[in-house]
């Protein structure tokens, strides 16, 4: 039962062939069996999940009209607050904290009857591309337990690939939904900025952060997208417009006449041969389905990474100032006569990990007087140039495409001492965040040289998220025909401890 898609599970629930309690128990059993090896979860809320499931079952028995995904379980990234449930964002500074309120995403999940199994592992405060920066130890890629599951949302993507959950929530600041999806053979979508509320999402870089759906199929991601998206008065950057019709788009199945723009700069040198091979194959399948493949150029994308590593640290140095040891979280050094300042200094030394400190210091520097114009100011200008590149390219095409990442999953520990090599993972995903548009990654196959999953990225203009789902679903169907079974059926069988 755990190998079904979320929409198949929902159909079985509606048909009365299973119950949400049964489905939830099956996933809790799977987690108990394999998570000691995968480490996708930081907290499993067995009791709460079964209570939510029983409540959905009772409503269904009473004949109440329920939302499409009611009763289906989900894994929640630990950066999203959930009332009464430990929420750490992967950091020691929040260890043991139980939020007194629900994020809007959690409220929406609960209103849709979606059962929250627990909280998934992540790079501390979503800073990283491998989940190795979690203060609670790394998550392992179900395709090869010695490799990274991507990051920052490696827990969510690994939970999907390990069949510990059919749905998950991620957040994407520079690729933290899409890159983990790519390296685990799953689907991840970063909606248009402002499409999903940030209320209760622990902020890293407020002008870039966006929550979105993670799943094993494009349709499942679309169903979850519609469940969590929409205007929220509690988030002043939430877009007050109808949610794009992504479920209908995922069911359309027709790309005839659509123009698909291949980004010239996001291919070639630096991209692994198997990544390029699977990308080219996917383009052929889309052309066979009647889409027109065109080349587009985005000359300023090569500066996106540099701009990102100024803008995100700058915003984080401000956002993370709230962890001051006064109102919640860790407090260290509060001895008689100690000053507030020394308690802050000591708490932040112990509570933050190496990457978080590195970015706070970098951001503090980039925003400091005398350097502001050269660093933060210049990065903001690059942001304008990247947005202009997108605008020009979208005059020539309906969606833009590229490989999601330059390589497949690397070994745990391989890049942890080289920040620049680690940052290069996000070279193809960052431009989307800079412009605030939508991006999706879906599996394109396995790289022949290492047998590991490759991601295909689709980018769409702001509030045209349905285009990614349309193209993604058509490509997914064509690939499924070619493979004969979902890609994840080729993943090795996980065994318990």
């Amino acid at each position: 039962m755990i190998h079904l898609t979320a929409s198949q599970m929902a159909s079985k629930l509606i048909a009365g062939e299973t119950t949400s309690v049964e489905l939830t128990q099956a996933h809790l059993h799977r987690i108990a069996e394999v998570d000691s090896n995968v480490h996708a979860f930081l907290f499993v809320d067995s009791k709460g999940a079964l209570e939510q499931a029983a409540a959905v079952d009772a409503k269904r028995s009473a004949g109440e009209k329920l939302a499409p995904l009611a009763g289906v379980p989900l894994a929640l990234k630990d950066v999203m607050v959930q009332k009464g449930i430990p929420t750490t964002a992967g950091s020691k500074i929040l260890e043991g904290w139980r939020p007194p309120y629900d994020s809007t995403v959690v409220t929406n999940l609960k209103n849709n009857g979606i059962v929250i199994l627990g909280k998934t592992n992540m790079d501390e405060f979503a800073m990283g591309s491998s989940t190795e920066n979690s203060a609670f130890g790394p998550t392992h890629n179900p395709w090869d337990l010695t490799r990274i599951p991507g990051g920052s949302g490696g827990g969510s993507s690994a939970a999907l690939a390990a069949f510990e959950a059919p749905l998950a929530i991620g957040t994407d600041t520079g690729g933290s939904i899409r890159q983990p999806a790519a390296v685990t053979g799953t689907v991840g979508v970063k909606p248009t900025y402002g499409g999903v509320s940030r209320f209760g999402l622990i902020a890293f870089s407020s002008s870039l952060d966006q929550a979105g759906p993670c799943a094993r199929t494009v349709l499942d991601a679309a169903l979850l997208h519609e469940a969590i998206a929409g205007h929220d008065p509690k988030d002043s950057t939430s877009i007050n417009a109808p949610v794009p019709q992504v479920v209908a788009a995922a069911k359309t199945g027709d790309v005839k006449g659509m123009k698909i723009g291949v980004v010239k700069e996001l291919n070639g040198e630096g991209y692994q041969s198997g990544v390029r091979l699977r990308f080219e194959e996917s383009l052929e399948l889309l052309a066979d389905a009647g889409a027109e493949i065109v080349e587009v150029s985005a000359p300023n994308f090569e500066y996106a990474l540099a701009a990102y590593y100024l803008i995100a640290p700058s915003e984080c140095s401000s956002n993370l100032a709230r962890f001051d040891a006064m109102r919640y979280g860790l407090r260290v050094g509060d001895v008689d006569g100690a000053s507030a300042e020394s308690v802050m200094n000591l708490t932040r030394e112990v509570g933050f990990g190496r990457e978080v400190k590195r970015r706070i210091i970098l951001g503090t520097y980039a925003l400091s007087s005398g350097y502001y114009d050269a660093y933060y100011g210049s990065a903001q200008k690059v942001r304008t140039l990247i947005t202009q590149d997108f605008n020009k390219a979208f005059e020539k095409c309906d969606v833009m495409v590229s490989p999601t990442c330059p390589t497949t999953a690397f070994k745990i520990g391989e890049k942890s001492n080289d920040p620049i090599a680690m940052y290069l993972n996000d070279i193809a995903t960052i431009p989307v965040n800079m412009a605030g548009i939508g991006g999706m990654s879906l599996p394109a196959g396995l790289a022949p040289e290492d047998g590991l999953p490759v991601g295909f990225q689709i980018m769409a203009p702001a509030m045209q998220d349905q285009r990614m789902y349309l193209v993604g679903a058509v490509l997914e169907a064509a690939l499924l025909t070619r493979w004969g079974a979902p890609l994840l059926s080729q993943a090795p069988e996980l065994v318990g401890k």
Partner: protein, 99 residues
């Protein structure tokens, strides 16, 4: 070629309220030579004529109607406090630090 000395990093750490060991200061100072070289590339294309973008959306102030709505109770707000006293957050000494 940009770089940050050990003392520069120490000053930034003080501004960011993070205590750092001597080893951390030296490691960060070394790493920043590489990182700053990489990020300084933004200066190559950022001409004076380019408008900066601080945010992907054209932002306006958003206000809600000025009416009382439900909010956290005192108990809930204090539920995560490291220390509390008389329904308030108890914090370390703030005044007289420089004495």
């Amino acid at each position: 070629m940009s770089s940050l000395s050990r003392d520069d990093v120490a000053n930034l750490a003080r501004l960011a309220r993070i205590e750092m060991s001597e080893e951390e200061l030296i490691n960060l100072s070394n790493e920043f030579t590489v990182i700053l070289d990489a990020v300084a590339r933004v200066q190559e294309v950022a001409g004076a004529e380019v408008e900066p973008t601080s945010h992907p959306l054209p932002l306006r102030n958003v206000f809600r109607p000025d009416v009382v709505v439900a909010s956290l109770t005192t108990e809930a707000a204090l539920s995560g406090a490291p220390a509390q006293e008389d329904s308030r957050f108890r914090v370390p000494q703030i005044l007289g630090e420089e004495a």
